[in-house]
Point group: C2
Chain length 154, copies 2
């Protein structure tokens, strides 16, 4: 209580924000992306936009086929370019696009966050169906296992 009494509220400033977008589901990413861009513009923060090529989504024959993988990679890159353009048009100055592969929760927690080192991670979650195995429902993994602040946006 003494510690609280001496405390003064400090404005939180974020300099690096990471937004995870689901390449298969624009709906669950929309609010989260709006939130990420709003904060990034307000704080004049760097914005990382990451999307995961979910290799588990492809069946075993497709996943062995480098052409299918390459095609998905290109699609995701193209998608991220569009997201990046939208963020810039809105007024976010410093935008980075990141493509990665694997299980979304694990790869974001173990690879993307340690490398990009955001102050805040933002993930979108579908309101209706929380059991779908996408980056949305992987949010719990990111919340539980990463060591940074995470906003789960519905």
């Amino acid at each position: 209580m003494d510690e609280l009494k001496e405390y003064e509220v400090k404005k939180i400033e974020y300099s690096k924000i990471l937004i995870c977008v689901d390449s298969d589901d624009f709906e669950s990413s929309r609010n989260a992306f709006n939130y990420a861009c709003s904060l990034a513009k307000h704080y004049n923060a760097e914005l990382g936009i990451v999307s995961v090529l979910e290799t588990g989504d492809l069946n075993i024959f497709q996943s062995l086929d480098p052409e299918v993988l390459n095609q998905r990679r290109e699609e995701i890159k193209e998608l991220l370019e569009v997201y990046g353009k939208k963020a810039k048009e809105y007024g976010v100055q410093d935008v980075h696009m990141l493509v990665t592969e694997g299980g979304p929760g694990a790869v974001i927690t173990e690879k993307v966050i340690p490398k990009f080192q955001p102050d805040l991670v933002i993930v979108g979650v579908e309101k209706k169906n929380r059991t779908r195995n996408t980056i949305g429902s992987q949010a719990a993994k990111i919340v539980n296992n990463s060591n940074v602040s995470v906003s789960v946006i519905r």
Copy 2:
């Protein structure tokens, strides 16, 4: 992709923010409280500050003793008054203090959120020890079971 191409980023506005503070752990609440006040001031939003009297924390004899319960209730009310004062001093105009009882995750998800109807819920999580059974470690319950956006702040 077509839907994304036609989309424009919209600024997210929050009008009601709920911050959950742990009455036993100022440290894990500090950053979350800073974040909540920063956003509430920026958005000129109503700020609800909730703390849960964790009845499971008291042993069975204490929990049957209305005096012990009343004392804890008074302590939590006093604590919330201090938090409320800090928020107002910082510049948050509209502050509400809410005391409730039970298991933090469940009571916040099932009672406080449906009643207060926030746009965004903010919870603090202790960085070091994520298994402690406080409102911090109850964050996952709130993230998973509530139907609003939740920021888990470390």
